[in-house]
């Protein structure tokens, strides 16, 4: 079975093809692809959320990569939600229309399920049940995953997502937005002992997060200290340590509460090396196993949607004829 996956929930337009035997055989994000073939040599500058003009050229591009004709696609998977209504509509319409014209099934996928299954695109795959830490610009969630479609939300951010806290603190330090990755780089030159940021919501029970206060703490720290490179690096370092430490504490708590010892980390912030390192140490100490997606599958992509669609269809999920996008869609409603 060969499943074409289409992701258009937010900023990225991603398309990929997953083969049930060979795994991922082609994948592309609009931003990474040179699309000369589709536009006759001129690549127009398109707004980041302009999925309409990107999605079909991208489908053609992955078919070419996989050396396949569209008639060889067995099914189409698209992101049904959660995300921006208009953005979701583009992917759903493109997918559903293609599927009708090719007379093949189409299946709507939950964006966050795509993320938490992304580590399964790697050689070493996690086994159910496990705990998933989903950390990105829009999400901060701890989820208990018993099997495909069986998810329990253990905790989430009550205000800013962790990636947002990174991006905004980076901006306060004079880095361009979104600057999460640049902040992490700056933090490498920082001194861990000079500033100490709070670890929000760690001194009370529960698995929820709150990162808005760290932003305020960063503002005060920037304001009350000299404006020089070392100070900025020290603040970046203290901020990152606080965030990483908070996530380690919550993951440890989730492991203790559930008794599960496998942790899967996904989402854009999962690419943060300091987080990978700190969680690695902690999970080893607890005698558990830790899994991450490859760096390019941490952020939004079509591959995870193609993969999730592929395994759902293999498990016998019936495709539906309707294609109602769901901008708000709790993961726990899946089955």
């Amino acid at each position: 079975m060969r499943v074409l996956g289409i992701e258009t929930s937010c900023d990225e337009t991603g398309v990929a093809i997953c083969d049930s035997e060979k795994g991922l055989i082609a994948d592309a994000l609009y931003s990474q692809v040179e699309m000369h073939t589709q536009y006759g040599g001129v690549v127009p500058e398109l707004a980041s959320r302009d999925h309409i003009r990107k999605v079909i050229p991208l489908v053609k591009e992955v078919l070419q990569m996989a050396n396949m004709d569209k008639s060889e696609i067995s099914a189409i998977a698209f992101t049904r939600g959660p995300g921006l209504m208009g953005a979701l509509l583009v992917g759903a319409t493109a997918a559903r229309t293609l599927a009708w014209s090719l007379k093949i099934p189409a299946i709507g996928i939950h964006h966050m399920e795509g993320h938490l299954l992304a580590p399964m695109l790697e050689k070493e795959k996690p086994k159910f049940p496990f705990i998933a830490l989903l950390v990105s610009g829009g999400h901060t969630q701890l989820i208990r995953v018993d099997k495909l479609g069986n998810y329990t939300l253990l905790g989430e951010s009550l205000d800013d997502a962790v990636g947002e806290a990174f991006d905004k603190t980076a901006k306060l330090l004079g880095l361009p937005y979104p600057g999460g990755p640049s902040l992490a780089k700056l933090a490498e030159k920082g001194n861990t002992d000079r500033f100490h940021f709070p670890r929000p919501m760690t001194n009370r029970p529960g698995l929820d997060f709150s990162f808005s206060g760290l932003k305020t703490f960063a503002i005060t720290t920037v304001r009350d200290n000299p404006d020089d490179d070392q100070t900025r690096a020290d603040i970046a370092c203290a901020f990152q340590e606080a965030v990483v430490d908070t996530m380690v504490i919550k993951c440890r708590r989730a492991i203790k509460e559930t008794g599960l010892k496998t942790l899967v980390v996904a989402g854009g912030v999962g690419a943060n090396l300091r987080l990978r390192e700190a969680l690695g140490v902690e999970i080893k100490r607890l005698g558990g196993k830790l899994y991450f997606p490859g760096l390019k599958y941490c952020t939004d992509n079509g591959a995870m949607i193609a993969y999730a669609g592929c395994i759902r269809l293999l498990q016998g999920q019936e495709p539906e004829e309707s294609f109602q996008p769901r901008p708000r869609w709790p993961l726990e409603e899946l089955f």
Partner: protein, 163 residues
Amino acid sequence: MKMKNNKITFNLADEKATIKLAERFADVSNDNFCCHLIGDLGAGKTCFVRAYLRQKGCKETIKSPTYTLMESYSINKKEYYHMDLYRLEDPEELDFLGIRDMDNNNCFFIEWPDHGINYIIPADIVINIRHDKKGRTLSFTTLSPKGINTIKKLTNHNDKNIS
């Protein structure tokens, strides 16, 4: 508190004061307006909107709308839209939110309105939040009859704990 023509200004010592003012604003307003919020990162714009929605009876988690650009809440059969245009690169992207289909009679809070100028619903009230050494200064400026009526009620409301 200082009142001047169509502008009223409050000095806020801390986050608690911002929350208290937002609650008071919620108590006197009829939710029939569009409010633009202006202020730097971390000024307390989202904090203000969150406290407003809580006071109106919102029970859900009120997340930052920065990533999704918009969150909506249904409270006592009334729709509230909380938008944040910070991440918008091109105002045309607002079409992806279905902004043209929205009913202007709902209640709107729009953060970073300058990123979507000419595309968004015009403000009845502009809230400007500034950091200063003593804390924050928050001003309401009214730009329409709807806004003026709401702000008038705010000035009549007696609460000495804020300013």
